[in-house]
């Protein structure tokens, strides 16, 4: 049959190397997460206890249900903490390697910046900057392609949400200057 003459090949030049050294073991992260959850359980448990976690004339007080959930969460994370601690010696599974962390940060940091910019300059400006910047700097795609894609995408979003459907997004000085 002739349907499979063409092959689709996509390369990933910046792919993380397989032999990249590990930054941190899964077991360590598990311990940290369990500690954080335990702290959360204690904080929420205390708050609910203060709200009232017992019974009054009309039945359970508002804090009753969540208080016991905090106890369950605390118990679960304590169990997780102990079992992760005990398993730490035997298994050294990698949580993330150097190369992987670099790639994850390459998405996370721009996303974080995007949120900051959205707060001050509005979502549409932030969207344009994120797409153009990400394509150019991380994807190494030609500048004109990046700018064009970013502009077209942002414009479509603006027309769809702001003009056609009246869903108002955070806006900044640029939109104000354009009178929207």
């Amino acid at each position: 049959m002739s349907q499979t003459d063409i092959e689709i090949v996509v390369d990933d030049p910046t792919a993380p190397e397989d032999d990249s050294p590990s930054i941190v073991a899964s077991g360590t992260i598990e311990i940290v997460v369990c500690l954080l959850l335990l702290a959360l359980a204690i904080t929420l448990g205390y708050d609910n206890w203060r709200t009232g976690a017992s019974w009054d004339a009309t039945g359970p007080e508002p804090g009753y249900f969540p208080f016991y959930l905090s106890v369950i969460l605390g118990a679960g994370s304590l169990y997780g903490l102990i079992s992760a601690f005990l398993a730490r010696r035997s298994s050294r599974e990698t949580f993330v390697t150097h190369a992987q962390a670099r790639r994850v940060m390459a998405v996370f940091v721009p996303t974080l910046l995007f949120c900051v910019v959205t707060q001050f300059l509005g979502l549409y400006v932030a969207s344009f900057l994120l797409i153009a910047g990400f394509m150019r700097l991380v994807g190494k795609i030609a500048l004109w392609k990046s700018l064009l894609t970013a502009f077209v995408f942002t414009a479509i979003m603006f027309v769809t949400f702001d003009i056609a459907f009246d869903v108002i997004m955070p806006k900044g000085p640029l939109e104000a200057a354009l009178g929207r």
């Binding site: 090949v9 609910n48 679960g76 949580f95 969207s127 459907f165 108002i168």
Partner: protein, 505 residues
């Protein structure tokens, strides 16, 4: 036969140009997210959900369910052509699908996958059509204790039957229930766990959490992997399609068996993955020459795809009839329904007949339209993979942010989404399952209300959960399921050995 009349009415509601166009758009978007690396069913629905906020509920849910079908179809494309399962439940499809593509039988494999998905969903939709009204009219008799017992059953079955470490499921679930309680208490009006923050007063919105947990975290996870891929291009000709369809009757046992497995596992939570593997393994076990599986046997595509789709579709049955979603994606659809003020559950069948039957009718139509669409457009969708991820990733981030903001017009929600993105990333990497969290977050307040109302009704004694035969048996079953692993091993020691264990693993 009331159901049939209502269903026909549902079709009448749907057969407008506007709805058909929405269906097509939904399917195309769904296939798009299904094909893209790293995205898939729940992620796609979560990201695209905000697009539907501007529509009326019927159009919106039609589009959402079509996104869901589309994503399911899309997963099969990458499994067969690229050996990349878009979803965990497509893994079994790669066993025979990819070898078929390598042998130049890609078109055949794709046709088989799409057709069997269609059959699986169809069986499940038929089940929904006839069973959902019955269950919901039965559930109309439920009071708060019965409802709480059913919620308890759902939560316990996640803990008892899930394959993750038990304490991780418990952590995930209790965290979800806790976060659901943040904000104003619906019974007393008191503020809980807000720590004086006006932002927390509104509570944590389910959809914001889902967009972060599934959308943002998936982008982070996808970037971690090598995105290079290599696969076959395929176009499907009518001759191949008819050839595969002509042979279908030969495989009726496989198709039927997989459909039943899928429907059964779909109604119980977390079933699609188990269903696809079980469908595959059983087909292999009952085959005349089991060793030919894994080398490009068409039954190896039929069996898992039918089961996965039957299960993915029947997961909507408990959601519609009882308000309890059977899968992560169903939970997100449930969250979507709540945005329009529709409360899934038995009353939905009474109060919003038009909507329910429109939705069920859209399942039939969406499947037919989807089948035709994927069969004709596979080459285009396969080439979506040529679009660089560096262009897709930021667009998905922007869509997620728009979605998170649009729900309550709050900048705080964009930050919350980012936070949940990080949480989702870390949880997935250390094996804390997200499905119980999602379920708990969406059901938390209802479960608590049901518990408190039963307590108020009974004067504070837990005996109310065993006060009659119905609620007593549900509660007992829930507790049995919670301790199922222990009971199972105890039974095993006494001498009941389990043959199904190896196949469902």
């Amino acid at each position: 036969m009331e159901a049939l009349g209502l269903l026909l009415h549902g079709f009448a509601v749907l057969l407008t140009w506007k709805t058909l166009v929405l269906m097509m758009v939904g399917l195309v978007l769904g296939i798009f997210v299904g094909v893209l690396p790293g995205l898939g069913g729940p992620n796609g629905v979560a990201i695209l959900l905000p697009l539907t906020f501007t529509m009326d509920p019927t159009s919106a849910i039609v589009m959402l369910s079509c996104i869901y079908w589309g994503a399911l179809f899309g997963g099969a494309i990458t499994s067969i052509l690229f050996n990349i399962p878009g979803e965990a439940w497509s893994v079994a499809t790669t066993f025979d699908g990819y070898p078929m593509a390598q042998q130049g039988r890609a078109a055949e494999a794709l046709t088989a996958a799409f057709t069997s998905s269609f059959i699986g969903s169809l069986v499940a939709v038929l089940l929904i059509t006839f069973l959902a009204p019955m269950i919901s009219s039965f559930a109309l008799k439920f009071g708060p204790p019965e409802f709480f017992a059913v919620y308890l059953l759902t939560f316990c079955s996640f803990v008892g039957l899930g394959r993750e470490a038990k304490h991780k499921t418990v952590i995930s679930m209790s965290l979800g229930l806790l976060l659901a309680g943040i904000g104003m208490d619906t019974v007393s009006g008191n503020l809980r766990m807000t720590f004086g923050s006006p932002e927390l007063l509104r509570g944590i919105n389910f959809l914001v959490a889902v967009i972060g947990l599934f959308g943002i975290s998936e982008i982070l996870l996808t970037m971690e992997e090598r995105l290079a891929l290599r696969g076959h291009a395929a176009s499907i000709s009518l001759r191949v399609v008819l050839g595969v369809w002509k042979d279908l009757p030969k495989y009726w046992v496989t198709l039927l068996r997989s459909s039943f497995i899928g429907c059964w596992l779909g109604i119980t939570p977390g079933g699609a993955i188990a269903a696809s593997f079980m469908g595959y393994n059983l087909a292999k076990r009952f085959a005349k020459e089991p060793e030919s599986f894994g080398k490009g046997r068409i039954e190896g595509v039929f069996a898992p795809e039918t089961a996965a789709h039957a299960s993915g579709t029947s997961a909507l049955l408990p959601m519609l009839a009882l308000g309890i979603p059977g899968s992560g994606t169903a939970a997100i659809l449930l969250g979507g329904l709540m945005v329009w003020g529709l409360n899934p559950g038995p009353l939905l069948f009474v109060e919003h007949k038009d909507f329910v039957w429109g939705l069920i009718a859209s399942m039939y139509l969406g499947n037919v339209v989807g089948l035709v669409l994927v069969l004709t457009t596979v080459p285009i969708f396969a080439s979506i993979l040529r679009v660089p991820f560096a262009a897709v990733a930021p667009m998905i981030v922007v869509s997620c942010a728009i979605g998170a903001y649009a729900i309550q017009n709050a900048m705080f929600d964009i930050w919350l989404m980012l936070g949940f993105g990080v949480v989702g990333y870390v949880f997935k990497k250390i094996g804390i399952p997200l499905a119980p969290f999602t379920l708990a977050l969406v059901l938390g307040n209802r479960a608590e209300d049901a518990f408190r109302l039963s307590m108020i009704g009974s004067g504070g004694t837990l005996k109310v959960f065993w006060s009659n035969g119905l609620v007593g048996s549900i509660t007992t079953l829930a507790i049995l399921l919670l301790f199922w692993p222990a009971i199972d091993s105890l039974l095993g020691r006494v001498g009941f050995t389990h043959g199904t264990r190896a196949t469902s693993a």
